[in-house]
């Protein structure tokens, strides 16, 4: 069933979910603001924040889109030995291991080019990689729980799982970045 092309019907389909997700994203914002002082003292972390949050959300949304498609095609079983679950879970962690060092190095370089650098490059990379790997594992857990929940409740995973996982990963992205920054910096 596709939504008819009118402003009213598009709004009716989109706005309720959008407002719920907006309220959820404020949790991410409140966490971010609670370490505003640290972020302003170390601009590298401020540059890092949107990229870490965005990449965590993307990892979750890619994984959930893949599982949703496999599920629709009848190719997925919720069994620990399922190849698709295992292969996609390992791929998510490997993607994080590939992308986050580059994100960390990029954030350090941006601050180096635009102003003064207070943090050593390895510190920024360590924050990015540690946050990234923790987030990848959390993204896998959150996606599997959400996908299994949708399956048990007989909901369409495309409608429910992708927005839920993306937003939960956004919130977790800030929380993990906050904790890792305080441990490493």
């Amino acid at each position: 069933m596709t939504t008819p092309w009118s402003v009213r019907s598009i709004t009716r389909a989109l706005l309720p979910v959008l407002l719920v997700l907006t309220a959820l994203e404020l949790l991410s914002g409140l966490t971010l603001e609670s370490f505003e002082a640290t972020l302003l003292r170390y601009p590298s972390l401020l540059v890092l924040a949107p990229a870490v949050i965005g990449t965590a959300g993307n990892l979750g949304s890619i994984l959930s889109a893949r599982l949703a498609t496999a599920f629709h095609l009848g190719l997925l079983s919720f069994d620990p030995s399922d190849e698709r679950l295992g292969g996609n879970a390992v791929a998510t962690v490997l993607l994080a291991v590939t992308v986050f060092p580059l994100v960390g190095a990029g954030a350090w370089l941006v601050v180096r080019l635009t102003g003064q650098v207070q943090l050593a490059p390895w510190t920024v990379v360590a924050v990015a990689v540690t946050s990234g790997v923790v987030l990848a594992v959390l993204a896998v857990v959150v996606t599997f729980v959400a996908a299994y929940g949708a399956y048990r409740l007989e909901l369409d995973p495309d409608d429910v799982v992708i927005p839920t996982v993306t937003n939960v990963c956004d919130v977790l992205g800030v929380v993990v970045l906050l904790i890792v920054s305080q441990l490493v910096v």
Binding site: T22, L26, P43, E83, G87, N88, A91, T114
Partner: protein
């Protein structure tokens, strides 16, 4: 399918998208780090940032996938001429985006004092939400329509283009619009 082939397939398929949107995220972070003075001047602005960026992603991602499905179904032609369907979809995206952003700014004004934290005036945050929502919306409608139409004409599947385009352009234009809107709001309120 073995674990190894699933792994390789997912890894190769997702890596370019992730890298492109990571660059977008770093550019957004660069803009954010140039806003130190604005963040200090407008209490609650940083609380708004993740919601502001996520709204861009949801609303204009939905516009992109709607246009892309319509191209596949032949409901819309990939030509840059006034079209009722494209106009309706773009207007709906803009209105929903602005509406959700206003909702976020009102929530910030209500929630922060309840948590005992300082917050800027409602007028400042509403100007930021309205102006930031409209500026980023106009830019993103142009980007999404262009990428989806041009991609489709070149024989690419617009579904594959929507995700990376919206996350990257959404982060960059979202932050730039937020910066411009904050400067205007600080000047007029």
């Amino acid at each position: 399918m073995s674990v190894r082939s699933v792994l390789g397939d997912t890894y190769r398929g997702a890596l370019p998208t992730l890298l492109v949107s990571a660059v977008g995220g770093l550019l957004a972070g660069t803009v954010l780090s140039s806003m130190e003075a604005d963040l200090a001047a407008v209490d609650g602005l940083l609380v708004l940032v993740p919601a502001f960026l996520a709204i861009r992603g949801s609303v204009y991602g939905s516009l992109g996938s709607r246009l892309s499905s319509a191209l596949h179904q032949g409901l819309v032609d990939p030509v840059f001429e006034p079209d009722r369907r494209v106009g309706v979809a773009a207007l709906a995206a803009l209105l929903n985006g602005v509406c959700a952003t206003l909702f976020a700014s009102v929530l910030v004004v209500v929630v922060l004092p309840a948590l005992g934290r300082p917050v800027a005036g409602l007028d400042t945050l509403v100007v930021i939400a309205l102006l930031g929502g409209v500026l980023s919306g106009v830019a993103l409608i142009a980007v999404v329509v262009t990428v989806v139409f041009v991609g489709f004409r070149r024989g690419m599947n617009p579904d594959d283009l929507v995700g990376p385009t919206v996350t990257t352009a959404g982060d960059v234009f979202g932050m730039l619009a937020l910066l411009a809107a904050t400067r205007v709001a600080l000047a007029v309120t």
